[in-house]
């Protein structure tokens, strides 16, 4: 993994879903995200934004084309290799927070570290509490995730995406399910973390106002970048 160069590089990525009729959803995407960039990904519903995000999040493989994270070509990696890279270099925030409801806020935040190391270390708790403090959830550390409000849960999910200090955070409509105030708050948090670190963000949104506040906007229409 190189220390300089783009965080993410896509070259001629095609994606087809094989069904009764095989449909191509992405038609040769070329895309590059630099370190520390904050990029908005827009496009109408069904244009392939989530599909693209899954591919560059190494959750799905392209039908053809290459994906490189931090200069490393991921085509040849097996599932274990993809998982390791995902855990260390990528963070995820989804529209529906996807916290583990049986764990507390603090535990949810440090779970990626726990999965990485295999056992608990006090430093993990410390890091999680520090992040929770920064997202304004001091005092909620031991609250079960299921007992937090939607906005609070999404902020915990953002903290979880950041806990490993990844090179790139992929956020698929993270504010889509929140009221305006909560959505704004969540967005501002990500923007703040982005400014203070080298973590790049790729944010799918339908909100042009938010997109304006990003460094750059990519628009996807019918599986191609405009």
């Amino acid at each position: 993994m190189s220390e300089s160069g783009p965080v993410l590089q896509l070259h001629q990525v095609h994606k087809s879903y094989l069904g009764a009729v095989s449909t191509e959803v992405l038609h040769g995407i070329d895309l590059q995200v630099e370190r520390g960039e904050f990029v908005a990904l827009m496009g109408p519903s069904g244009s392939g934004k989530s599909t693209l995000l899954n591919i560059l999040g190494l959750l799905d493989r392209p039908t053809s084309g290459t994906v490189a994270i931090l200069g490393q070509d991921c085509t040849a990696l097996d599932d274990a290799g993809l998982t390791r890279l995902r855990g260390k270099s990528l963070g995820f925030v989804f529209q529906f927070h996807h916290l583990l409801p049986a764990f507390t806020a603090e535990e949810n935040v440090y779970l990626p570290m726990l999965a990485d190391v295999g056992h608990f270390e006090p430093a993990m708790g410390q890091r999680a509490r520090e992040l929770l403090g920064r997202i304004g959830l001091k005092g909620f550390e031991t609250r079960p995730a299921a007992q937090l409000s939607g906005g609070q849960q999404q902020r915990v999910a953002i903290a979880r995406a950041l806990v490993m200090s990844p090179a790139l955070v992929l956020a698929d409509e993270p504010t889509g399910n929140l009221d305006q105030a909560s959505g704004n708050q969540a967005f501002e948090l990500m923007r703040e973390f982005n400014r203070e670190s080298t973590t790049a963000f790729l944010l799918v949104t339908h909100n042009p106002g938010l997109a304006k506040r990003c460094d750059r906007t990519i628009t996807l229409v019918d599986g191609s970048i405009e």
């Binding site: 599932d79 998982t83 779970l111 990485d116 490993m164």
Partner: protein, 405 residues
């Protein structure tokens, strides 16, 4: 705590009702296994106890004198005229040597010489046919501990003392200190003084057995210096058949094990064993299927959670372990409940199934070994039952799992 264990515990905690129900199922299954095993083991131990309580494991006797026809191919009909010679008590040649050899074997716990034959017991005008047992009072206790079966008097067969069963004593109106005349088939006769009365728990034996000294037996049976059988007890009762065959081949004597002499009982025990194994197998199968179905549902319910776990770097083998651990934990905790349930059922049964005097019909065999085995079986059952769901969880496509809102 290990990551996998912590997640497994939380998942079980999260599915509270499912967890409780399947644990109840496992507990019931293990309970049935424990109850059944304890019952059958107890029953079998008591049957064997009763059977072997009054028997040697191996009995050596002089081989039957078989009249051997001269094999004359021309006069086949000669076979029809061959007859067995009249039964007559014969001695085991060189028995002291054989006895010493037997006692030096590591698998033999006791060996004793006896003179056995039938006789008549006379008392006044009453008489009864009895089975004489001329025994060596020092070593006979290793075969049948009559001292512990005495209801009156002492086990003293020295000189012209005899020990008889309570039933015979009642029949002939005998008590300790009374005299009894024993008459052998060839009219040898002698007067004995009763020193003790025994009760071995079997009416027929209480009525027929008369114990006298080896020497008196030899005199009455006209077997001076000889013995008519050597009785052997072994460390492992189930090796009796094997040992009997070995001894028969080595000595040329007629050698019978308790297993041949009680083959019906043995068949009964074996079929009990196999039906018990069958039932246990089916119970285990049902529990495996129960665990599997609960966890399969759990994998489906937790699809999104599993997807996000994969996204933040959880490896496939970690997910495999998380679900195997859930199966193992269900089995482990369920088996503890099962031990409690099975023990209560077994003790309850013991309390209900009693002799008229209130004592249990037989003690149920609740052993540490049974508990340990049950825990292991339940653990294995949990792991087997969770194998398929664990594989499914590990193989879940995270993109699909996360997309499914």
């Amino acid at each position: 705590m290990r990551f996998e264990l912590q997640v497994a515990l939380r998942f079980l905690q999260e599915g509270r009702v499912q967890t409780a129900l399947i644990m109840g199922g496992i507990g019931t299954g293990v309970g049935v296994i424990i109850f059944l095993s304890a019952l059958i083991a107890g029953l079998q131990a008591s049957i064997i106890d009763r059977t072997l309580g009054t028997q040697a494991h191996v009995v050596l006797q002089p081989s039957e004198e078989e009249a051997r026809p001269q094999l004359d191919r021309v006069h086949q009909d000669v076979l029809a005229h061959i007859q067995r010679p009249a039964q007559r008590l014969r001695t085991i040649l060189g028995w002291p040597r054989l006895l010493a050899d037997l006692r030096s074997r590591p698998d033999v716990t006791a060996a004793t010489p006896t003179v056995e034959g039938s006789a008549f017991a006379l008392r006044g005008t009453a008489n009864r046919s009895v089975a004489l047992r001329g025994v060596d009072s020092d070593s006979y206790g290793g075969i049948l501990d009559l001292r512990s079966k005495l209801v009156e008097g002492t086990f003293d067969v020295t000189g012209t003392h005899a020990v008889v069963g309570v039933e015979l004593a009642k029949e002939l109106g005998l008590g300790v200190g009374d005299t009894l005349r024993l008459v052998a088939p060839d009219d040898h006769t002698e007067l004995f003084t009763i020193s003790g009365l025994f009760d071995v728990g079997i009416t027929d034996l209480n009525l027929r057995w008369v114990f006298i000294s080896l020497r008196s037996g030899q005199t009455l049976m006209d077997l001076s210096g000889g013995v008519s059988s050597i009785q052997v007890k072994l460390r492992d009762i189930y090796s009796a058949e094997q040992v009997a065959r070995e001894l028969g081949a080595a000595t040329g004597l007629k050698s019978d094990s308790w297993m041949t002499l009680n083959s019906q009982i043995l068949i009964g025990l074996r079929s009990q064993d196999s039906s018990s194994i069958m039932i246990q197998f089916l119970v285990i199968l049902a529990v495996v299927l129960g665990i599997a179905s609960v966890l399969v549902v759990s994998v489906i319910q937790k699809g999104r959670q599993i997807g996000i776990m994969r996204a933040f770097g959880t490896r496939q083998e970690q997910l495999l372990r998380i679900f195997l651990l859930q199966g193992g934990l269900l089995g482990l905790v369920g088996s503890l409940g099962g031990i409690l349930l099975g023990t209560l059922m077994a003790l309850g049964f013991q309390r209900i199934a009693t002799n008229p005097d209130g004592s249990p019909l037989f003690p149920v065999a609740l052993t540490l070994q049974l508990y340990g085995r049950s825990v292991l079986v339940a653990l294995g059952t949990g792991l087997v039952g969770s194998w398929l769901p664990a594989r499914r969880a590990a193989a879940l496509d995270p993109a699909v799992a996360i997309r499914n809102e």
